[in-house]
Amino acid sequence: MSDARLAVQFAGALVTLQDSGRVGHLRYGVAASGPMDRVAFAAANAALGNPSGTTAVEISLGGVILECKSGAVTVAVAGGEFSVEHAGSKTSSWTVLTLAQGERLSVRVGRSGSWAYLAFAGDIVANKWLGHTATHSTSGFGGGAVVTDQELVVEQAEVRAEREGQIEQPGFLSHNGRMRVVMGPQDNWFRAEAITAFKNNRYCLTDSYDRMGVRLQGEHLPLDSALSIPSEPIVRGSVQVSGEGVPTILLADHQTTGGYPKIATVISADTNVLVQLRSRDEIEFEAITPLAAIDIVRKFSQDLSDYLAKVSVPRGNLQQRLMQENLISGVVNSIDGC
């Protein structure tokens, strides 16, 4: 076991190091940060057999190109349908492969998806802030942005050949463009027609989209009064509406308080789907009761842990797979021989 050193030949904007997030300091103005798509992040680590929450590179539409300068390390790429090129062969996200010395890996914008996770069989060296490497993009605190010409060092890098191959994609997420929300907490600040418009119209994501949030385009949502409300706490998924009636969904690096009213809040399961959309993609909101939201998140949580358990089982290396086949054909042969 030794270190693997990876040269970053190219990194687009908004490529950052992320662990599972810095939960617990919201009261001090600190959003949890962590992965935009928590499911894909968890899948990348599970597929390598890593402890959950191991630091990974969150790759934006800008993409990355790495070259392994020394050592070798098995890596997983999960999230969206990014285009992955490794040592001359092309594949897509949801794959585990081994990066050997002298080999290049590029992960770039593909058919769909906005964020992919590159996890490593080892420990990537990263700054911590308040115990976590999760990067808070506004301040740069935490592991920080991955930038062109920097070097990434993976300590205790391992080759885990038995884990190479495709990662099964999560089948339990709903991909129909419907974002389930619980209305409020400040929906009473809106006119009745704004509530109707919010529930009955489709909204487009705009390119004002980063780790803090995504601005939407669509029917304006007029406020009932021009009064400003006292600044109130915000969570990931808050749908905040500005004075002009334009909704923005706040995400991983959201501001922690704000004086614009929040018409609704997207449930936690659906933000993982939302973040993988791109500008001009359409969504619609489906209002559900708080009780229904609890049922959904409990099922989601069970589905996620079942899925991760499945993905974390090693497939066995080529030799092991061949041996298994020989064993089977050996049995078949011996039956034939009887």
């Binding site: 300091h25 308040l130 969570v235 939201a293």
Partner: protein
């Protein structure tokens, strides 16, 4: 004071005490916040994850596998009935501020708007008793109430970019010390060498919500000694 409980998504509950900011409401918020902390530090049967005290309400996030909005509301109502009378424990903090004109980009505008001299604005700012009402926006932004009416100015119509960390800024009845280089629409009246982000894992932030704050004037030379940096650096 009858609180309003509002479910937020599948993992939070917003407890609102009033639609307007006032001292009495905030005292209840601080006491409630401390009561929750005490209760959830024992054996957190409610699955509480975070508590965010703000100006008129408290956001409580929870683990939805352990509890739900209704269960948490029942528990918090009980807690509120039992503890609302107790006096919150808060600290007094002192923050140094240098009002040198090289830092106080908006002193002129504030003085003009309030029809006061620079010194009068400074003395009024120094005379105030401030209280940390909430943290918000980005890490370490502690919103303090207590700016005297005579030096209250509205927020600018547009934010100004790249205001240095450590700036002492005011808008309406509130004051704060910035911790990051960020845009702001508030008026900049000075610079503080006092660190709000402490880089100490056991006590990462200087203030607790509810703390009382007084400002102490320092000159440019003292500022430079304390901060090790020069103006406009």
């Amino acid at each position: 004071m009858e609180p309003r409980f509002t479910p937020v998504a599948d993992f939070a509950l917003l407890v609102t005490f009033s639609d307007e900011i006032n001292d009495e409401v905030h005292a209840v918020i601080v006491a409630f916040d401390q009561a929750i902390a005490q209760c959830s530090s024992l054996d957190n049967p409610l699955g509480i994850i975070e508590v965010v005290p703000a100006l008129v309400n408290v956001m409580v996030t929870f683990d939805p596998v352990v509890t739900d909005h209704a269960q948490l509301e029942t528990a918090l109502r009980k807690l509120l009935n039992n503890t609302v009378q107790h006096n919150a424990k808060t600290h007094k903090r002192t923050v140094q501020v240098c009002y040198d004109e090289s830092f106080a980009f908006d002193m002129d505008a504030v003085a003009k708007a309030c029809n006061l001299t620079h010194e009068a604005v400074i003395n009024t700012h120094l005379a105030g008793n401030y209280k940390v009402l909430m943290y918000g926006f980005v890490p370490g932004y502690a919103y303090m109430g207590g700016v005297d009416k005579s030096i209250q100015v509205p927020r600018k119509t547009a934010a100004v970019r790249d205001i240095p960390a450590g700036s002492v800024i005011i808008a309406g009845g509130q004051c704060l010390i910035t911790t990051l280089k960020m845009p702001t629409g508030w008026s900049i009246i000075g610079r503080s060498p006092t660190q709000v982000l402490l880089d100490d894992p056991d006590r990462p932030f200087l203030f607790d919500v509810g703390d009382e704050v007084t400002f102490e004037r320092i000159d440019l030379k003292t500022y430079e000694e304390l901060s090790g940096s020069k103006p406009n650096e």
